[in-house]
Symmetry: C2
Subunit: 434 residues, 2 copies
C-alpha cells in the first residue's frame, strides 16, 4: 500500500505552521507520538523548575509567610483570571477550586436553589445519556437529595426538542468525551433561557482546546478540568465560573473558610464571600496549583500568535488530516469514524470504532499502537452498556503535535492492522485503567 498521507507534504505544513515554535515549550517523550493530551496534557518545560522553586524557596525557606509573600492566598484567583482569558470570561469571575465534580455540585445546587426550592413546576435536570458519566453521577446525587429529576436524551440533537417549561437546568459537556461532538453553546444557551432554564456547561474537553465565549453566549455556569488541555498535571484542580449577573444571588453548601466573606476573622458565623471567591471551600493544594499556572501560562504564550483561534484552526487541520487517513484506511479495514466529519461540529479529538471481526480486538489494537509509541486511549463504547463497539480515541492538540506526527501515527495504525499485531499475546491482556 502507498502511505496514507504524503509525509513530505506534512513536513511542509509544519514548516509554515506559525505555532510550531511553541512545541518546544513542552517536554514530549522521546520517540513517542502522544495523542492523549485530552486525557492528561503533557508537561510544560517550565513546570518542574517552577515547582522546585515553590517547594524549596516558598515552602522550604519562607514557610508559612509565603501565604502572603508568595501570593499563595490569591493563587487560585490569579490562575482563574488567566483561564478566564481562554474562555471568554472577565476578571475575578472564574476561580480554581477543588475538582470539576465538586465544582459541578456547587453549580447544580446553586442553579436548583435559584430555580426555586419548590420544584413542582420545574423539576428536570436535562442532559444526555452520553454526557461524561461523573457529571451524571453528580446530577443524580442532586436529584436524590433535592427531588429533581434527571432526564437524559439519547442523542445530542434532541436537547433542543426536550426543552420544556419543566426543565430547571440544562447540564451539558461542550465537547463530548467520547465522540468529540461539539455542542452549539450559543444556540443551546439561548434556547434554554427562552424556556426558562439555567445552563451549566462542563468545559473539561474544550477549555484550552477551542475558543469559548462564556459571556458572549450569556452562559449561567461553567466548570472545567485543569489536567487535560490546560496541562496542569495529573489531578490538577478544577475551575468554576458563574455569570456575574447571577453570582451574588447564589449560595452553595460547601461552606469553607475560603468562601467566607472574612476568611481571617475566624468568626464562628458564616457569610459567603461576594463574587466567585465565595465558590472556593478549603485550602487549595498549592503545589498542584503552581503546576496548573505553568500549564495555563504556556497556553497563553500562543496569544501573540493568534491565541485560541489559531490553536483551534491548527487543531482542526490536524484532525481533518487524521480523518482523511482514517477514511483511507477504511478502504482496506472495517473502521468507522465516531466523531463528526465536519470540523466545526467536532472538538479536539477524533474517535474511531473498529467493526466486524476487528471490533472485539479494539483494546489490543490500542495496546499495539502504544507499543509502537503512538499513545491514544480506549473508551468503552456504550454508556447504556449494551454491545456497541468500543472506541479508540486520539487527541489532536495543536501546540504539541506536528502534521508529520499525524502522518506517522496513521502509518503505525495501518501497520498494526495490516500485520495483525493485535494478535500478539502481550496486547491481549485485560485492560486495567484507561
Amino acid at each position: 500500500m502507498n502511505p496514507l498521507i504524503n509525509r513530505d507534504w506534512c513536513l511542509e505544513l509544519d514548516r509554515f505552521d506559525a505555532l510550531s515554535p511553541l512545541r518546544d515549550l513542552y517536554t514530549l517523550p522521546f520517540g513517542q507520538i502522544y495523542l492523549n493530551g485530552n486525557s492528561l496534557g503533557p508537561l510544560p518545560k517550565e513546570t518542574s523548575n517552577r515547582l522546585i522553586h515553590v517547594i524549596r524557596d516558598e515552602w522550604g525557606a519562607d514557610l508559612v509567610k509565603s501565604w502572603n509573600s508568595a501570593g499563595w492566598i490569591d493563587l487560585a484567583q490569579k490562575i482563574g483570571n488567566k483561564i478566564a482569558r481562554l474562555v471568554g470570561a472577565g476578571e475575578n469571575e472564574l476561580i480554581v477550586a477543588d475538582s470539576t465534580s465538586i465544582n459541578l455540585y456547587k453549580a447544580l445546587y446553586s442553579a436548583l436553589k435559584i430555580q426555586g426550592v419548590n420544584l413542582s413546576t420545574r423539576q428536570i435536570i436535562l442532559s444526555e445519556v452520553d454526557n461524561f458519566p461523573s457529571d451524571l453521577y453528580m446530577a443524580r446525587s442532586i436529584c436524590h437529595d433535592y427531588g429533581a429529576k434527571l432526564q437524559l436524551v439519547d442523542d445530542p440533537g434532541q436537547i433542543e426538542t426536550a426543552l420544556s417549561q419543566q426543565v430547571a437546568i440544562v447540564l451539558l459537556t461542550e465537547v463530548n468525551y467520547r465522540s468529540a461532538y461539539l455542542h452549539d453553546m450559543r444556540r443551546i444557551t439561548y434556547l434554554a433561557h427562552e424556556a426558562g432554564a439555567l445552563v451549566i456547561w462542563d468545559l473539561s474537553h474544550s477549555a484550552g482546546a477551542l475558543p469559548i465565549d462564556l459571556m458572549g453566549c450569556d452562559v449561567d455556569f461553567a466548570v472545567g478540568c485543569g489536567y487535560k488541555f490546560l496541562c496542569g498535571g495529573p489531578g490538577a484542580p478544577g475551575f468554576i465560573w458563574i455569570n456575574p449577573r447571577l453570582v451574588d444571588k447564589l449560595s452553595h453548601p460547601l461552606w469553607g473558610w475560603l468562601s467566607h466573606n472574612e476568611p481571617f476573622s475566624f468568626s464562628t458565623g458564616y457569610t459567603q464571600a461576594a463574587g466567585i471567591r465565595g465558590y472556593q471551600c478549603g485550602t487549595p493544594p498549592i503545589l498542584s496549583l503552581a503546576a496548573l499556572e505553568m500549564g495555563v501560562d504556556t497556553l497563553l504564550q500562543a496569544e501573540p500568535l493568534g491565541g485560541m483561534e489559531k490553536i483551534r484552526e491548527k487543531a482542526q487541520k490536524l484532525a481533518d488530516l487524521f480523518i482523511a487517513g482514517i477514511n483511507g484506511l477504511g478502504k482496506d479495514f472495517d473502521i468507522s469514524l465516531v466523531s463528526p466529519e465536519t470540523a466545526e461540529n467536532r472538538g479536539c479529538h477524533v474517535s474511531i470504532q473498529l467493526k466486524g471481526n476487528l471490533a472485539q480486538h479494539s483494546y489490543a489494537v490500542m495496546q499495539a499502537l502504544i507499543a509502537r509509541g503512538v499513545t491514544g486511549d480506549f473508551r468503552t463504547g456504550d454508556p447504556k452498556q449494551s454491545r456497541q463497539p468500543d472506541i479508540l480515541r486520539f487527541g489532536l492538540t495543536a501546540l504539541t503535535l506536528r502534521f508529520v506526527d499525524v502522518a506517522d501515527a496513521l502509518e503505525h495504525l495501518k501497520q498494526v492492522l495490516k500485520k495483525q499485531e493485535w494478535q500478539l499475546p502481550q496486547y491481549q491482556k485485560k485492560r486495567k485503567v484507561t
Copy 2:
C-alpha cells in the same frame, strides 16, 4: 535578668534525645526557629527529589500510563494506609481525599442520614464555640439544608453535660487550634455513644502530633489535615476515616467517579464503592499527594524509635520547657498562659496572651519575634468577637525542634518585651494573613 532557661542544660537534653537524628530529615530555614509546624509543617528533604521524579519521569515521560505504572490510581489509598498507622486505624479504612472541610461535609451528611432523616427527636449537632471556625461553617451548612440545629457550648468541659437524647452528632476537634486544649477522645466518644449520638473527630491539630487510637476509642468518623503535622506541603489534601462497622451503611452526596464502585465502567448509573474508597470524589491532585506521602513517610521514620508515643513524649517536654519559660517571663511582664498547664490536657502547641497595656500590641510583638527569626503565629482571641486579648501561638513539634531552640526562642521573646521592640513602626503594620 538571668536567662529564663539554662541553655547548657538544653544542649544536654538534645544530646540525649533519641529523636534528634530525625531533625536532619527536614529542610529547616537557616538561622530560624520555626514554631509554626502546627500551621504549615516544614519541608521534608526527600520531598523535592520525589516531586522532581513525579513531574519529570511519571508525568513528563510516562504520561497517562502512570495512572497504572506509577500507581497514581491507588496513591490516595496508599497514603491513607500510612496515615492510618499514625492514628490507630486499620488497612483500607482511611483515605486521602479533597480537603478537610469537604471530608467533614461528607461525614456530617453521612452521620445525619444514619441518625434518621426525620430529626424530630435528634436534631442537634453539638460542638463548642471555640471549635475551628470552618468546622462550624460546615456544620451550619448541614443544619441549614437538613434541618439540624447547631448547639455550641462555651467551654470544652461542658460537652459532657450537654449530651442528651436530642444530640445526633458530636463534632469536635481533638486539639483546639487556639488553646491546644486536648479533649479526652475515649471518654467523650463513650459518653456520646451512651447518649445515642455519633461522634466526628477533626484530627487536624492532632494527627502526627500525638498518639491517636481511633479504633480503640470506637470513634465513628474522623477527618484531618495533611499540611500541618503531616508535613504534606501547603494545602495538602485532607483525609477521612470511617469506622468499618459503619462505612458500608453510609452514603455521602459528592458522587464522583472515584467513589463509584466501578470507576472504569463509565456507566451512567451510580453505585457507591464499598468501604472508604466510596468517600473519594474526583481525581486527586497527584503532585500534592506525592508531597503528602513524603511528609507521612518522614514521620513514620520515627516508628523504630518509638513512633508517636516517643514523639508525644518529647513534644510534651518541649512544651513544658516553654511554659516554664513563660512562667518566668510572667514575673516581669503581663503574660498569661492560654493553654492547659498540664501536659496530658494539651496538644502540641502553646498559646499565650499578653495582658494589660501589652495586649493591644500582641500582633506587633509577634512581628518583632518573626523579625528575630522566631516564627510563631497570631490568632484572634475571641470566637465570639468580643474583646478578649489576642493569642500568640507557638508550635512545639518534636521532630524538627531542639530543646535549645526553645531556650533561644524564649530569650528572643524576653528581649522583644524588654526592649519594647514591638514599638518599632515596621511591626505596627496592619495584619494581613495569618
